[in-house]
Symmetry: C2
Subunit: 288 residues, 2 copies
């Protein structure tokens, strides 16, 4: 046995660190650390990172942690804006082509949204362009799923969630619905708006340095679950939104973009309890 | 031009994110982001990271940022314990074989340590095993460098820096020396002790989960500079320390490990102003 320390240099660094972690009793943690160390070292080597750049990275990560609070998770924003969240989502939700694809949960879900009846409105202040959402929950072969739970939330016409905006009533634009015997559901709401992710912190500064905007295209969030099926966390996006091609968090999938046409029809308005001029959207959720 | 969004999936994710950043006006930032995104995505793909593991990583990074303060930099500890700091150091300090190699700066340097004269002691409380450090600053061909500045700092016999330990006098075990006409310098001190890096935070929990100890082998820090030469940030390590093979931050290099023999010699003790029984160390710093 040599008494010499093995020389830690550009060639040996990665192997030495991985060997040092080899005594980890948890095989999955050992694997995670080995893979992370290897790719992190590769990136440093490939970039020939300077000490000033290294210090910049330390300071960026520190600021990202320090702005986090009960109400803000800047590391999730960082993961989102680097496409990591959607990549993890893709890896963990491989599905049949006909199943509704998942997308990011986002930071604005609340666990205790109110249970509602078919046809109820989730708009508690009536502000915005009236919208009727009709839909059905089906299995991947097209058979209706009765009693599926649909947890729904969206922004106001100004692009704010109730939790961000003291002018909105509590639980505004949130509700939990059940599908009927034919898999069908419907509710009333308003047309959601595109909005920026929080951009006054380190991630906002990063996007600015990259000449990227912080906008997300208008969408309505859904978590749909039913006994015996995989739950899906997803959105429906408003066709024609200018940010569909450049969602700051890479959440858009073609199958989730739906028309929200303007309808001008007094009979339909009366039937659904909305003005003659209103928008409608038709959603089919397919669970696997 | 297609109106469709390109599908963001496991295969396309990395390319889509890199293309989104392609408008960055700073070519180096663009390169850094592209390389980081590529290696980060590769790691996620290779690990088939679960959403629970992803959330664990988010929470770990958040906690690492949140424990940082004016007095603590946990992301530097993380970089150190993953070998990233020493890898960046190696990349940025390629040198002649004969030059003194660099190692980590560590978090305990202070900018305003007191200027001292040859032979002064940096121990302001006299606690510990007396030590005499003799040395010389040379160029890589062995010629003496006069007027080099040596900024020196170390722990107490208990393994604490003055800034960590209210029982030590201010600026204890710190001093700035100059080399003489022959490149020589000497000072008195005490034998430093091995010590743990801060282990009560996320990095300490990580080391514990990896079955690693948080110890650094005993060392004295030096920053040596002279006009016309590259400054070197380095340590000298105490030969025989039990942690030389397993420094928590991978800072040990063979050329930096020196004997600190015990001497029992009344004449030498009197000559250097230390007890008969004392330790001595002989350091040669070679600047390129
Ligand atoms: Cu890689
Ligand atoms: Fe949203
Ligand atoms: Fe130290």
């Amino acid at each position: 046995m040599s008494l010499k320390t093995e020389s830690f240099d550009e060639a040996s660094a990665t192997r030495i660190v991985i060997e040092r972690n080899a005594g980890c009793p948890d095989p999955r943690l050992r694997e995670i650390m080995a893979v992370l160390v290897r790719h992190l070292h590769e990136a440093v080597r490939e970039l020939q990172l300077t000490q000033q750049e290294w210090r910049g990275a330390i300071d960026f990560l520190t600021a990202t942690g320090q702005i986090c609070s009960d109400r803000r998770q800047e590391f999730i924003l960082l993961s989102d804006t680097l496409g990591v969240s959607m990549l993890v989502d893709a890896i963990n939700h491989r599905k049949a082509e006909t199943a509704t694809p998942s997308t990011v949960l986002g930071p604005f879900h609340v666990a205790d949204a109110p249970a509602m009846q078919s046809g109820d409105t989730i708009s508690r202040d009536g502000r915005g362009s009236p919208l009727v959402v009709h839909g059905a929950v089906l299995d991947i072969d097209g058979r209706p799923i009765e009693g599926a739970t649909l947890d729904v939330w969206q922004t106001s016409e100004d692009g704010y969630y109730d939790t961000q905006d003291p002018t909105q009533p509590d639980m505004n634009l949130r509700g939990v619905f059940q599908s009927g015997a034919d898999g069908g559901f419907w509710f009333r709401s308003i047309v959601p708006a595109s909005y920026p992710i929080p951009s006054d912190g380190p991630v906002g500064r990063m996007l600015k340095a990259l000449a990227r905007h912080p906008m997300r295209p208008a969408h309505i969030h859904f978590i749909v679950s039913a006994p015996g099926y995989q739950p899906v966390t997803t959105h429906i996006f408003v066709e024609g939104d200018p940010y569909l091609e450049s969602d700051a968090v890479f959440g858009v999938k073609d199958a989730l973009v739906l028309p929200f046409p303007m309808v001008d029809d007094t009979a339909r308005g009366e039937r659904f309890g909305v003005p003659s001029r209103h928008h409608e959207a038709e959603v089919v959720i397919r669970l696997q």
